[in-house]
């Protein structure tokens, strides 16, 4: 049967043709195609990996953000608290200072008042003294106008001197 006996001529031709086809395709055909496909596949994989990374980073960013916000609010309350306490302290201080100041002023005022009083008293005393001198002068002058009076006065002075 010629169907199952390989013909020599066809064997040679087939070897030659397949050999050439194989050589050409192996050199300029398939490696180009498979490499390109591989490159694209790699690129897609790489892109997916990067996207995943970015997503991961984004998710981290969100938690980071939340952390930052939380910290900020904590800081806020802390600052507020601090501010409140500082205000209280300042108020306290101011009050204390005011009290001190007031006390000082009062003291000064008191001293001044005392001094004023003193000087006023002194003035008054002087005035009174002058007044009493002038009264005494007037009394004396009236008494001295009369002889009786004069003698009586002299006698009283003498008495007084004696005693």
């Amino acid at each position: 049967m010629s169907l199952i006996t390989p013909d020599f001529g066809l064997l040679v031709w087939m070897t030659l043709i397949f050999g050439i086809v194989f050589f050409v395709l192996a050199k300029w055909g398939f490696p180009m195609i498979t490499d390109s496909i591989q490159k694209r596949a790699d690129r897609i994989n790489e892109s997916i990996r990067q996207a995943k990374e970015a997503e991961e980073r984004l998710r981290n960013l969100a938690t980071e953000q939340a952390a930052i916000i939380e910290e900020a609010s904590k800081e806020q309350t802390r600052i507020l608290k601090e501010a409140a306490s500082a205000r209280d302290k300042m108020l306290e201080q101011a009050k204390a200072q005011a009290r001190d100041e007031a006390a000082k002023i009062i003291d000064q005022a008191r001293v001044q008042i005392a001094a004023e009083k003193e000087s006023a008293m002194r003035d008054i005393r002087k005035e009174v003294a002058l007044l009493s001198v002038s009264v005494a002068e007037k009394v004396l002058r009236k008494d001295l106008d009369s002889d009786e009076g004069r003698s009586e006065l002299v006698s009283r002075f003498v008495d007084e001197l004696r005693s």
């Binding site: 086809v21 395709l25 390109s36 490159k39």
Partner: protein, 352 residues
């Protein structure tokens, strides 16, 4: 659905035409052997059709080197139609039936070295040219475009899909680590077989040559795989053949297992050769047989002939679809088994 109706109407008319043709053709019986084998075997001319009893065929160059000592002869095969030419003729019977023989001394038929461009050689050339065109055209697209930026469309896209299917499903899985080295061969084998299978199904020129259903063609393909496997086989592969991991009495004194393994070296490519050859040949026979029903029943009356023609055409369409599937499957199987054999020859010793 409307389209289908037209097809059915056409089918109904067909038997009448076939009958008319059959009656015209006088009362010549269909020579089944000649019809079947004539279509699947190699020949020195490419028979296209027969018009009014005259064959229309493309004559092909005959290249023979005489063993009787008359040197190299190159001539057109149309000279052989008449009979003898320069002492060469196509044997009609005997050991070299349908082959060119040379009349030797004493009337003995001597087969010369025959390197003729036969129907199958021309078919191989045409199909190879188509294959080169397709693959190099695809490769050209990748050379011109940045594949990382855009994906091909249309024909290149189909080629890319098929190449990546073969590469990913067959080559990477079956060969293993260093698949890159073997992928050009396996891809070439796949597409070579596939395109030749497909062109074999096309019923008219330039298709129709029964190339992958020819044992010489599949033998060469199997030999390529055989040499690829055995030349690049690693130490572990040879150790597995010559000193396999079996009880010692199976190896010494009678090398039973090594013998079996060595036979296995040859049966693997042999099975590759026979599988592809037989599948494609059987497919051709089946389609030819189904079509033959129309002509065989031409004399049985219009009713029988008409009914069977419809059946034959429907069956023929079915067979053609099946053959397209087989064309793909056989290319796939050949490539996959080649890849598996290569993978086995590259296996590293198991580390338990």
């Amino acid at each position: 659905m409307k389209f289908l109706k037209y097809i059915l109407v056409m089918l109904m008319i067909l038997p009448f035409q076939a009958r008319a043709l059959a009656q015209e053709d006088t009362e010549v019986d269909l020579d089944m052997d000649e019809y079947l084998y004539g279509h699947v075997r190699d020949s020195y001319e490419w028979h296209i059709t027969t018009i009014n009893g005259k064959p229309v065929s493309i004559p092909l160059p005959v290249i023979v080197i005489s063993k009787a000592g008359s040197g190299v002869h190159v001539f057109s095969s149309k000279h052989l139609e008449e009979g003898e030419y320069k002492g060469f003729s196509i044997a009609t019977s005997g050991k070299y039936e349908n082959k060119i023989v040379e009349k030797g001394p004493g009337g003995a038929e001597i087969r010369p070295w025959d390197f003729s461009i036969t129907k199958n050689v021309l078919g191989l050339l045409i199909n190879s040219a188509i294959l080169l065109l397709i693959v190099l055209g695809t490769a050209r697209w990748y050379r011109k475009h940045d594949a990382t930026q855009e994906a091909p469309k249309g024909g290149v896209g189909i080629m890319e899909m098929m190449v990546s299917m073969v590469e990913d499903d067959i080559i990477k899985d079956c060969v293993g680590e260093d698949y890159k080295r073997y992928s050009p061969y396996l891809l070439t084998a796949f597409f070579f077989i596939f395109i030749n299978n497909l062109m074999g199904i096309v019923p008219f020129f330039p298709g129709g040559a029964n190339i992958t259903g020819n044992i010489a063609v599949t033998l060469v393909l199997a030999l390529f795989t055989f040499f690829t496997v055995n030349i690049f086989g690693n130490k572990h592969y040879w150790k597995d053949i010559l000193w396999p991991d079996v009880p010692t009495w199976l190896k010494v004194p009678l090398p039973l297992m090594p013998l079996i393994e060595i036979i296995g070296m040859f049966t693997k490519p042999f099975s590759l050769m026979v599988r592809l050859f037989a599948n494609i040949l059987a497919g051709h026979f089946m389609i030819l047989g189904v079509v033959a029903v129309i002509f065989l029943t031409a004399k049985m009356g219009i009713a029988v002939n008409g009914g069977l023609t419809v059946v034959a055409v429907i069956l023929g369409v079915f067979m053609d679809c099946l053959e397209i599937l087989v064309a793909f499957i056989q290319a796939y199987v050949f490539t996959m088994l080649s890849a598996v054999f290569i993978g086995l020859s590259r296996q590293k010793a198991e580390t338990n």
